[in-house]
Symmetry: C2
Subunit: 139 residues, 2 copies
Amino acid sequence: MRISSKGLYALEAMIRLARNYPERTTKIHEIAVQEEIPEKFLELILLDLKAARLVESLRGANGGYRLRRPPGKIFLGEIIRTVDGPLAPLGDAESLRRLVKNDRKHSALYQVMLDVRNAAAGILDHTSLADLCRHPARS
Amino acid sequence: MRISSKGLYALEAMIRLARNYPERTTKIHEIAVQEEIPEKFLELILLDLKAARLVESLRGANGGYRLRRPPGKIFLGEIIRTVDGPLAPLGDAESLRRLVKNDRKHSALYQVMLDVRNAAAGILDHTSLADLCRHPARS
DNA sequence: ATCACACCGAGTAAGTTAGTAGGCATACCA
DNA sequence: TGGTATGCCTACTAACTTACTCGGTGTGAT
């Protein structure tokens, strides 16, 4: 369940959109500058997020992006899964098949992996963008 | 905190060694066949585990590997960390610096990532090889 | 002396990551 | 109606990582 740069960029961009929700739409360029994300790369990421229906866009001059749901109803797990794939520690199907196939021998190991995934998902699927925005400066 | 094939192989091999503990030493070849792990690859993995002082080896004819500590005192977290690196979702230093640098903006995000890591570590650092061997056939 | 094993360094093919490049499509505005 | 600002789309690529393999050397029991 490694989070890639892409995933981190996605989270940062979404947080930025959450701050401007619901009034303003926010331009790719603006996000890229403020969050120090390579602009063309961010473009691709936002396209993914759009395909996942987490954001929507307006084209043309004065275009930009905005969240499709209020920040309190968008969870980190959704974001990470759309850009980085499943949250499980054994991401690829191959490894899973291994464990399931060697069922007898390793079912306990399989169970532990499940527990880990559930622990991670439990946190990420219950933390919303709103939760993150509520603490503007902690520490 | 993705677990690679290498990590999975390491876990399987260690479980195998745990079963034979403390009487027998187990040969690379034997483990490779029983667990269906590429033998030469497994060799490298065991070398890593040896460097991490989780296992020890005997050379020459009748050589082989054995755990350096009883299975109840070897935890999955140690194994995974030695072959796959840190358990945190943001493995690389680069991403961490990003989050820490943009401290004000994203400290909440950083906190969530910490929580996820701690949840995973909490499970993996408290599950021992003995725990896995206790359940020979569950399900 | 032989054989069975562990040890070791190097090499490599395929896949993934983290981007970049360049142009098209659409909307606003003068 | 034409310019400009924006998002949309496809393709490409350099660097890195993964998952191995190869060919040998060192060591100890018999």
